[in-house]
């Protein structure tokens, strides 16, 4: 706290406090150079994803065999073409859209499941044991193996990749949420609400959840990186996006046969994946510092 006493000059000014807090977090985030770089990359990816049809001059799936395997820069193809003569840049741009959509939906779904389980097991000690054993069970599988198992059951498709990755995200998220609930639950303001006779739902939604947001936001950001990487990995293995979908992992898989004749087919989507995953990770890291509750008070 800067000062406890409220000065009269301060009293009349009404600021939207919630926005100010967000702005403060953003300002702290901007002090971290790597995080700024990450945010720029992510912003760039989002722009590409939204404006893909206007940015790409070529259709990402229409083949043109007379122009196959052109190198970068040749004949108006900025990043060259692949073995079917499709513009690499167009495929990259549409791929950005796919990895973003898959990332967001799978993280959101995983978050919903994890929040539900985490809030319940943290708040109701009686259900804690059962839910946490279930979570342990999910943890027992190596992540990518669990995803492959789910896809093996459901069939190969991008939708199933989303489902697999969200299920894979649930246990980690549930653990994180449970941990924060356990610490927030003991706070006096929660006890005060209980002594007022507030219902459990009210206490959980209005008093516990808003105070657990910091670790959840960090988790979601970091998880985006994992989700994008896993989508690429699963597609690379042929379990996710099927040709001719311009998915980055699938593009690498298609390019590996031409590693020596047309290395740009693997290198370009590889760099894209690396950049985006790196970006989400550094932003997540930066957010962890920026959202530190101890720093929140120095307004």
């Amino acid at each position: 706290m800067a000062s406890g006493v409220i000065s009269p000059a301060n009293t009349s000014v009404k600021q939207p406090k919630k926005e100010r807090m967000l702005f403060q977090t953003f300002k702290r985030l901007c002090k971290n150079k790597l995080a700024v770089f990450g945010m720029i990359v992510i912003a760039f990816q989002i722009l590409l994803a939204i404006f893909a049809p206007w940015i790409a001059q070529y259709d990402p799936v229409v083949q043109n065999l007379s122009k196959a395997q052109l190198g970068p820069g040749a004949e108006g193809h900025f990043l060259g073409t692949d073995n079917y003569g499709r513009d690499m840049f167009a495929r990259l741009v549409y791929g950005a859209r796919i990895s973003l959509i898959v990332g967001i939906t799978s993280v959101t779904l995983g978050l919903l499941g994890g929040l539900f389980l985490g809030l319940i097991s943290g708040y109701y000690r009686k259900l804690d044991g059962v839910i946490m054993r279930f979570v342990d069970l999910l943890f027992a599988f190596p992540g990518i193996l669990l995803a492959m198992l789910i896809i093996a059951m459901l069939g190969t498709s991008l939708v199933n990749v989303v489902i697999a990755i969200s299920i894979w995200s649930i246990p980690t998220c549930a653990r994180i949420v449970r941990g924060s609930v356990l610490s927030v639950k003991k706070q006096e303001y929660v006890v005060a609400m209980k002594s007022l006779g507030a219902s459990d739902l009210r206490i959980i939604m209005k008093h516990i959840l808003p105070n657990c947001t910091a670790p959840i936001i960090v988790f979601a950001t970091m998880r985006m990186a994992t989700a994008i990487l896993s989508t690429a990995a699963l597609s690379f293995l042929g379990l996710g996006a099927q040709p001719p979908t311009p998915e980055w992992g699938a593009m690498i898989a298609a390019g590996q046969d031409f590693m020596w004749t047309a290395p740009h087919m693997t290198v370009i989507p590889g760099i894209a994946i690396m950049l985006v995953v790196f970006a989400f990770n550094v932003v997540g890291d930066g957010l962890r510092d920026a959202l530190d509750p101890n720093m929140e008070l120095d307004t």
Binding site: G4, Y189, V191, L196, P210, E296
Partner: protein
């Protein structure tokens, strides 16, 4: 209690144990006896102080009365109705009548909620008032505890400790309760703010006909604020007397030791200090007989074996000690 006002709260043999569980089957290995058989009446309109060292079960006792901790044993009657062991739903109508003021003004307010919204919760939960009416009430409430109506819009971190404690008090009186547990309500504040908060509590006691259970470890504050004082030791009641009587004429050896520890502002005037040997026993391994016998300067064989009765030795002066005779 003869010739005295109606008891608002009748507490009989209240016990609160926290089980220590271990092993695969979560078997109860031992109990931490936080409150071990407390029987008192809280009279309407009084301020009953509860004192004792850290870990003697004062706070747990307060929370148990309010139903924040499930009761292990005993009965609690509020205005003649049994409230011990009621389910949360049945307890809800009593929660309007019984409130709590918390110790740590920095932890007792939701940091993500505006003050006004925090205070409004009470009306959302218990009344069917419309939003505008609720807000008007909250603004009035803020004024009543010495804050301004426009503080409604602010977040807790913009207030000082004393101001936050005022907000905590506002929340406690929002529903017009008759009984408030002040759990170390002024302990976290510095002395000048303490005085302000105490006078606010006194003012509200007058205007709202409140009864306080004032839990504190500060014997000086208790002397000034309380009508009667209950001394607790290791979850049990040691002595209960009107404040003046207790401070002038302590009977229980523990009370004597406690009172001799009050720092005196008079230089040169030395007071005989009673030093207690040893530490507070582990409440998970509760002593037999009188809970105080392990540290008592005048304890005998009898104290080790038999638990002393809670008896009235003078009018309104209760003590649990074999050695006290009057």
């Amino acid at each position: 209690m003869i010739n005295s006002p109606q008891p608002l709260l009748k507490v009989r043999d209240v016990k609160k144990y926290f089980p220590i569980k271990s092993g695969l089957l979560r078997k109860t290995m031992a109990n931490v006896k936080a409150v071990e058989g407390v029987s008192i009446d809280v009279l309407e309109g009084e301020t009953l102080g509860v004192v004792g060292e850290s870990g003697c079960g004062k706070s747990t006792f307060g929370r148990t009365i309010l139903g924040l901790e499930p009761l292990t044993e005993g009965t609690i009657q509020f205005k003649g109705q049994e409230i011990g062991g009621l389910s949360d739903r049945k307890l809800k109508k009593f929660k309007k009548e019984m409130q709590m003021i918390f110790q740590d003004p920095y932890a007792s307010l939701n940091p993500r909620q505006r003050i006004g919204d925090s205070l409004e919760e009470a009306y959302i939960i218990h009344t069917s008032l419309k939003k505008a009416e609720r807000q008007a009430r909250v603004r009035e409430l803020l004024k009543e505890v010495g804050l301004k109506g426009e503080h409604y819009e602010r977040y807790p971190h913009e207030f000082s400790g004393g101001q936050r404690q005022r907000i905590g008090i506002a929340r406690a009186i929002a529903l017009n309760p008759s009984f408030i547990v002040c759990d170390e309500a002024v302990s976290a504040l510095d002395v000048s703010v303490q005085a302000q908060i105490i006078s606010l509590l006194k003012k509200l006691q007058q205007s709202h006909q409140l009864t306080y259970l004032f839990i504190s470890h500060d014997l000086g504050v208790v002397r000034h604020t309380c009508d009667r004082v209950l001394v607790m030791y290791l979850g049990a009641t040691a002595e209960l007397a009107p404040a003046d009587e207790l401070y002038k004429n302590p009977l229980h050896p523990y009370t004597k030791a406690l009172l001799s520890a009050i720092p005196r502002p008079v230089p040169g005037k030395k007071r005989e200090r009673v030093h207690l040997k040893g530490d507070l026993p582990n409440p998970a391994n509760y002593p037999t007989g009188c809970p105080f016998h392990t540290r008592c300067p005048i304890g005998t064989e009898e104290c080790r074996e038999k638990r002393p009765d809670w008896r009235e030795v003078k009018e309104g002066h209760y003590v649990a000690c074999h050695k006290v005779s009057l």
